[in-house]
Symmetry: C2
Subunit: 420 residues, 2 copies
């Protein structure tokens, strides 16, 4: 490419930092105006977006991208409309910026509280799906941040046009245009520069395959909000309502198997294994699931393939499920602690003590009681939208919405108080 990656990223970074000052002070009406205008521009420029996307899809086909990747890359009228509607939905969400919490009076006479403010500059690194360009830019705008977008090289033409639409809308709304910038190059060195640009970028949010995210986490100097895996568990307790457990297990595995909050391992208490396993295994197999079970599972249910050690750590993202019989709640929790990825786990039980223990002791970003793991999602949690999922322990954990893109500063209101 001949790009001078470092210089290019410095320019983008400086522009983003400057724009972030304007964004920090932008009022809600203005940010919502930008989002609604962006929706309108996307609809207006549909033909241009589709033409650019066709170039990407054609190039992808020539390069031999597989069908799943090509589908992710593809835009059509419905998907463009969904992007536009997504931006309008973000406009309709409450603005987290400026909220003042817990303003209390202290013995010294001062009032102390916390005000929610934007993080600053977000670096967004993602693969294939061009709609992320609009979604991520929208969430960053609404939360008062500037964003540097680095999409996959296979979507460069689509991303260029979509980012251009966003920038036009930002400018029309009177906000700094560089609040949305696309890294308009497929030079991989730019990713390396972006994740080390500590002076310009406050947080990196990667979305994509495990390989991409591991590489970013290993090399980044900027903090990374991320999750690697979703090895999610459902534990069917001795005191489970077995109809409910069946329903939840089938939903958690099959409703959308390719996503990170789908169940990958089912743990069943020995006391209900004989009653439950034949039913659930049959129901899963009927829906095309390959069931890989421990010895005890295989004795109780038909059609179960033997599980190997690797199965307990596997994130299948497919119609495959590992099943294990456990002797107690404690054994279930120990299995989760050892093999889970800290994403989402659910217990099915009517026993109050068992449910409470599971909720308290399981150390995952989402812990559920009598609900499908599929609910671990920004929309379902009421965040309005999500820019990603975090299994980090610091700052934000679980689905990341607008609030996760902000931080708080302390406010002190005095009347001349001094420290004694």
């Amino acid at each position: 490419m001949g790009t001078n990656a470092k210089a290019m990223m410095e320019t983008l970074g400086r522009q983003a930092r400057e724009a972030s000052v304007g964004m920090r002070m932008a009022d809600t009406r203005c940010k919502n105006d930008a989002l609604r205008r962006a929706a309108a521009v996307l609809r207006r420029e549909r033909a241009e977006i589709l033409a650019a996307n066709e170039m990407d899809v054609r190039a992808g086909r020539d390069q031999g991208l597989d069908a799943a990747l090509l589908d992710r890359l593809l835009l059509n009228d419905d998907r463009i409309e969904a992007m536009a509607e997504g931006l309008e939905q973000i406009a309709a969400l409450p603005d987290p910026v400026g909220e003042i919490e817990h303003l209390t009076s202290r013995p010294s006479g001062i009032q102390v509280g916390r005000m929610r403010v934007p993080l600053g500059v977000i670096g967004m690194i993602y693969e294939s799906r061009p709609n992320v360009t609009a979604d991520a830019a929208g969430l960053c705008l609404k939360s008062g941040n500037a964003v540097i977008l680095r999409g996959g090289s296979e979507a460069i033409h689509s991303n260029r046009v979509i980012a251009g639409c966003m920038r036009r809308a930002v400018l029309e709304a009177g906000l700094p245009q560089d609040a949305v910038q696309l890294v308009d190059s497929t030079d991989r060195a730019l990713v390396g520069e972006l994740i080390r640009a500590e002076d310009y970028v406050d947080v990196i949010i990667p979305r994509g395959g495990r390989g991409l995210i591991e590489r970013i986490a290993a090399e980044a100097r900027v903090p990374v909000i991320k999750h690697l895996d979703g090895v999610c568990h459902v534990y069917v307790d001795a005191a489970a309502d077995l109809d409910m457990a069946l329903n939840i297990a089938v939903n958690a595995k099959t409703q959308r198997p390719g996503v990170c909050n789908a169940m990958e391992t089912l743990l069943v208490h020995a006391d209900v294994a004989a009653a439950f396993l034949p039913r659930v295994v049959a129901a899963l197999i009927e829906r095309g699931v390959e069931v890989r079970g421990c010895e005890r599972t295989r004795k109780l249910a038909e059609g179960v393939v033997p599980a190997t050690d690797a199965d307990w750590d596997a994130e299948y993202l497919a119609l495959i499920l590992a099943v294990k019989v456990v002797d107690s709640l404690e054994a279930a929790m120990a299995h989760i602690a050892r093999h889970g990825s800290g994403h989402t786990e659910s217990i099915v039980t009517e026993d109050y003590a068992a449910g409470q223990t599971f909720l308290r002791e399981v150390d995952s970003s989402s812990v559920m009681w009598n609900a499908s793991t599929r609910f671990a999602d920004g929309y379902e949690y009421g965040l309005g939208a999500e820019i990603g999922i975090s299994t980090n322990r610091l700052h934000v954990r679980g689905p990341v919405g607008l609030e996760g893109l902000t931080t708080q500063k302390w406010l002190v209101l005095g009347r001349g108080e001094v420290r004694e």
Copy 2:
């Protein structure tokens, strides 16, 4: 030393991780019991602590440590009593762990909320003051974390005895003893291992000189909660009550000049410079402050040394102050944006619009209106205690108390709901 640093840190790390599981589930009564027992053990072992401390002080004197360092290193009856009382105060604070926030019902039927949980394992790296051993261990225990303490080599004997007291109390209270571990070696390689022990340590909190913290931040793989500088500003607006401004400026500079929330630069609006500067400069000089001013300051007040460019970025931590006349609120905020360290800034004004603008637009961990910067402190903010100050943007900003040592997980309570 011949220490195998990597193996030693792995042992400490594994033990801490295991202890953190027990700590995560410890109930409040048990943690408070450990803290009160620790206070009792410290009082009981006073003679042993003083004897160990004498060894450190004598060795420090032999090595030619300066008077300030020796004073920080020194323990006496009062300081040991203060440590014990500090632990009792932590026992009296509310336990942040287990708090459930914002449990709301979603259209799907599930209830969603967030539960506060410990971070896990804290790595605490600090210099000279042996009381940090008790303070940090106490805060980590109360917040349900395990801690690995790495104090300065000059305080190794004191730290060893104090950590031993804490461990005894933890064991007596029925908690896992390895919730408190001291790196009992002065091998510097261990710091390097600690800050890269991603599998065992969830966050590093360094306290000490800028050099130490910069080195840690540059080399750490584990997230670091830190601040580098406190270049704090007071801006005296055109609409300031000048008596109040005088009081605040004198307090912010002189009440305790050696700490990070002391004022280092005073900005004065040109409209009040002639009325204010002679008074404030005289009052400061009377209290032994060296005043370094811009040209305009020097024309208006007697005894002002010329400021150089370096003064606007200086953290003096001493009775020295940089003073600058600015033409507007915007110019003051621009100066702060350029030269501030994001720690604490205060505006003095009776003008509502100016105060509001300053509060909203100044991007520091604490922003104040008509109050001394010296209030930026965990006790003054009502946190009960602080383990450090953060100028990070992520996770925790400003004084870090018990809440900053915790994170939140999502809870989902259902009655068999599945995703449609």
